[in-house]
């Protein structure tokens, strides 16, 4: 009973495919994105109400939605940025869902991943959105600039394009610095510095990277979580870069016995994260730092020392892959998840404050 428990609080079965879910900041509501069988996109807003979820708002749009984020919106306005199957990036005001407040044809193909930074009172600097698409490019957008992205990260002319499966922001500890990390289907992970517009680090984990996340966006890079195919979870220690030894130190774990679709850090504690697998299982992990994070290598240069991750709890709530998972930024342990069995589940993890 001392271990954290993962308890199902409420679940609801829906009639369309769900791809992503996100909590609306400062509320007990969450938004669910997906697509109907007829090919149109669906946005639904649900609210927690005494053991059940109640539908508050819904709308149907032309194209199916793949992913969304609140990362670049202000707390008061709560604008949801979504990427759809057609490569369009839209920003919606949830109070007025008829028209998007920003719309651009970001990519030629489906947007696989989206992330936002600079909003929600986290970090300083301009609000920006990054999108990763199957057309191989990763683009950074500023909602104040129409049509043209602020930065484009794409392979050179003659090289083969690999699907970009994941993208995330990090290292945004002041208004100038920012980093974008992108993961590809061949296992490439590339880290770009947006201030100097250069490639900072790249590596290959041999399996397609499904999800990338820094433990915190608004601090100097600390840890990077990369989940891949073939049930691998990698955690990189991003504080010390030593290119002779492959850049950053990492620790790898095998779990889930299937593709690890998602890895999300707990907003209230950056050492705790949840990974979601293709078999519908959720694993709760904790990262422990080594006694010395930095060691001297053969040449006397500093190199990072990876820590260890320890499984705290696991639960199998579904039989289908879990496509979306989000921790609530307001309540410790509250989370919402969606899976391909067309259900949305609200779960509570207990005893997280005593880890």
């Amino acid at each position: 009973m001392e271990k954290p428990q993962i308890i199902l609080y409420a679940q609801k079965s829906l009639n369309y495919t769900l791809f992503d879910c996100k909590w609306i900041p400062y509320s007990a509501k969450f938004v669910v994105l997906g697509n109907h069988a007829r090919g149109t996109g669906a946005i639904q807003v649900y609210e927690l109400a005494s053991g059940d979820v109640k539908l508050v708002k819904e709308t149907e749009k032309l194209k199916a939605f793949k992913c969304g984020t609140f990362g670049a919106s202000k707390v008061e306005t709560r604008h949801l940025a979504t990427g759809d199957f057609d490569g369009n990036l839209n920003i919606w005001d949830l109070e007025r869902l008829e028209q998007p407040i920003y719309s651009v044809k970001a990519h030629k193909e489906i947007i696989n991943a989206i992330d936002g930074v600079g909003g929600l009172g986290i970090g300083e600097g301009a609000p920006e959105i990054v999108t990763a698409s199957r057309d191989g490019s990763v683009k950074v957008w500023d909602p104040r600039q129409k049509d043209v992205p602020v930065a484009i990260i794409e392979p050179a002319e003659n090289e083969t394009k690999r699907d970009a499966w994941a993208a995330c922001f990090g290292h945004a500890y002041n208004s100038h610095e920012r980093c974008v990390c992108s993961g590809y289907d061949n296992g490439d992970i590339k880290l770009f510095d947006l201030r100097n517009m250069c490639l900072k680090w790249e590596t290959n984990v041999k399996n397609g990277v499904c999800c990338l996340e820094f433990d915190r966006k608004d601090i100097i890079m600390n840890k990077l979580l990369a989940t891949t195919l073939e049930s691998k979870i990698n955690v990189y220690d991003m504080r010390t870069q030593n290119d002779a030894h492959g850049g950053f130190a990492k620790v790898t774990e095998k779990a889930h016995d299937s593709t690890v679709w998602l890895g999300k850090h707990l907003p209230q504690n950056r050492e705790v994260f949840m990974t979601c697998g293709g078999g519908g299982s959720m694993y709760l992990w904790k990262y422990s730092y080594p006694p010395n994070r930095v060691a001297k290598d053969a040449n006397g240069e500093e190199m990072g020392v990876p820590g260890t991750i320890q499984l705290l709890q696991n639960v199998g709530l579904s039989s289908q892959p879990i496509s979306g998972f989000d921790w609530s930024p307001d309540k410790l342990g509250l989370a919402v998840s969606t899976s391909f069995d067309q259900t949305v589940r609200v779960i509570v993890c207990t005893k997280l404050n005593s880890i």
Partner: protein, 479 residues
């Protein structure tokens, strides 16, 4: 109990615990849900203006790749245009047909389109300028919030990004002035002036800095420069005046300091001091009276008990009793220059006041009138200076009743006996002043007597004036 039973009991216990735990968990979640809903309501009630402000955000990030693309297009354009317009040097007819002005205009147009840059450096410079401006805005915000060190840092960064803009060192100088770091402020102002010799604010701030440093001459020069740049600025003029005053006041008599040897060897004499002034004598008397009062109103223990919140009435009675026992010596009041109770004394004192020149407008008149208000004679002298034709202009907004009474007094007392003044004219123009008729209705009996006197005097001079004019005047002053 067998192990099995023990285990059963343990299991039951655990299940109960689980259940209670779950229950607590869910209740906690419920209460949280309520709280967060309230919070959300509050946030949503915020006015829209707060929601939609994009100010204070850093400028949009630089575009890396598209920049290069733009460079290519620009080059193409330039090449094609050059191909079109290259004229052979021997083709005189073509040269004759060239419209130089048009070509110049085209070049100017190309330059002004801000999205096209021929080189990377130009574009980078533009970016840096935008960043510098943003730093300046941040600095301004810090300055408003009185966070001067942060403001200075912002301005320093702005200067680094764009060293040719005079506004940034000027603003930094303002912060330094506020921090009383006058030397550094002066240096920054000098820098700003070097970048822009017509930057008025920099001169102003440097003037202030120099003033505080004691460099009065140089401060004066700065203010003069400021006046040259902004001749209409009242601020510049007042500052200059202040400075001049201070410089003048420094021409004081300073005590003489002599060395021991140089000092006079003569013995010191004792001189008797006679007090002529009444003040000190009165002051002593007042003091004596106060002492008497204090002696009589001595609080005994019994009285102190009265100073409770309930019996205020009784308190007052006791104090009144004690006051009656004290009889104060009559003291003559100090001659208060503001009160007009002793006309003779005051007359003697004020006879030296300068009488101002004739006023040009109503405001000047009012001011001068107030200045001389206590002394009728000087008022009369002042009024004499004003020509009668100017009365309507001076009293543009109409006469005031006390003005009118005083004027009538002046007329009847002083002007009557004065042969130089044409009383008729004075009266005529006075009557043509706005609102004269209305004021006329509010005259006191004294005023009416004065008017009677004046009328009688006028009638006696009937030979000098035309009959109908005289009649008109008398009509106007009739009641």
């Amino acid at each position: 109990m067998s192990d099995y039973e023990k285990k059963m009991i343990e299991l039951q216990f655990q299940m109960k615990e689980n259940q209670t735990y779950m229950h607590d968990c869910f209740e906690d979640l419920e209460s949280w849900t309520k709280d967060i809903k309230e919070k959300e309501k509050k946030i949503l009630e915020e006015p829209n203006s707060i929601k939609n402000s994009n100010k204070g955000l850093p400028p949009i990030r630089a575009i890396a790749t598209t920049k290069k693309k733009k460079k290519k297009t620009k080059k193409d354009q330039v090449e094609t245009s050059q191909k079109q317009k290259k004229l052979a040097s021997y083709d005189y007819r073509a040269w004759d047909k060239i419209d130089v002005d048009k070509m110049c205009q085209e070049i100017d147009d190309k330059k002004t389109s801000s999205s096209e840059y021929t080189t990377d450096e130009e574009w980078e410079e533009e970016q840096r300028k935008v960043k510098a401006e943003w730093e300046k805005e941040r600095g301004n915000q810090f300055f408003k919030d009185n966070m001067l060190n942060e403001a200075i840092n912002c301005y320093t960064q702005a200067i680094q990004l764009d060293p040719l803009n005079a506004v940034y060192p000027g603003n930094r100088a303002m912060c330094l002035l506020k921090q009383e770091k006058y030397g550094a402020a002066e240096a920054d102002c000098t820098l700003a002036i070097e970048l822009d010799s017509k930057y008025a604010k920099a001169y102003h701030r440097r003037g202030t800095a120099r003033f505080k440093l004691g460099k009065f001459e140089e401060a004066k020069k700065d203010y003069e420069m400021l006046l040259k740049l902004e001749p209409n600025s009242k601020l510049a003029q007042t500052e200059l005046n202040k400075l001049e005053q201070l410089v003048e006041s420094r021409n004081l008599v300073f005590p003489v300091f002599k060395k021991e040897e140089e000092k006079s060897q003569k013995p010191l004499r004792r001189i008797l001091i006679e007090e002529i002034n009444d003040d000190s004598i009165e002051r002593n008397e007042i003091k004596r009276n106060l002492d008497e009062i204090n002696q009589k109103i001595v609080l005994t223990d019994k009285d102190e008990s009265l100073f409770s919140l309930n019996d205020k009435k009784q308190e007052l009675e006791v104090i009144n009793e004690k006051l009656e026992n004290v009889d104060l010596k009559e003291i003559e009041p100090k001659p208060d220059f503001k009160k007009i109770d002793k006309p003779e004394n005051i007359m003697k004192i004020n006879v030296n006041k300068a009488i101002p020149e004739a006023p040009n407008n109503g405001y000047q008149f009012k001011k001068d009138w107030q200045l001389l208000n206590d002394n009728i004679e000087s008022l009369a002298k002042y009024f004499k200076k004003i020509s009668p034709e100017d009365y309507p202009k001076l009293f543009l907004n109409g006469l005031e009743s006390d003005h009118l009474s005083k004027i009538l007094v002046i007329f009847s007392e002083y002007f009557l006996s004065d042969s130089e003044i044409d009383l008729f004219k004075c009266l005529k123009y006075l009557s043509s002043v706005k609102r004269f008729q209305t004021q006329f209705m509010f005259l006191t009996s004294n005023d009416k007597k004065a008017i009677e006197k004046l009328m009688n005097h006028i009638k006696s001079l009937s030979e000098r004036y035309q009959k109908n004019e005289l009649e008109d005047l008398i009509k106007k002053y009739q009641f």
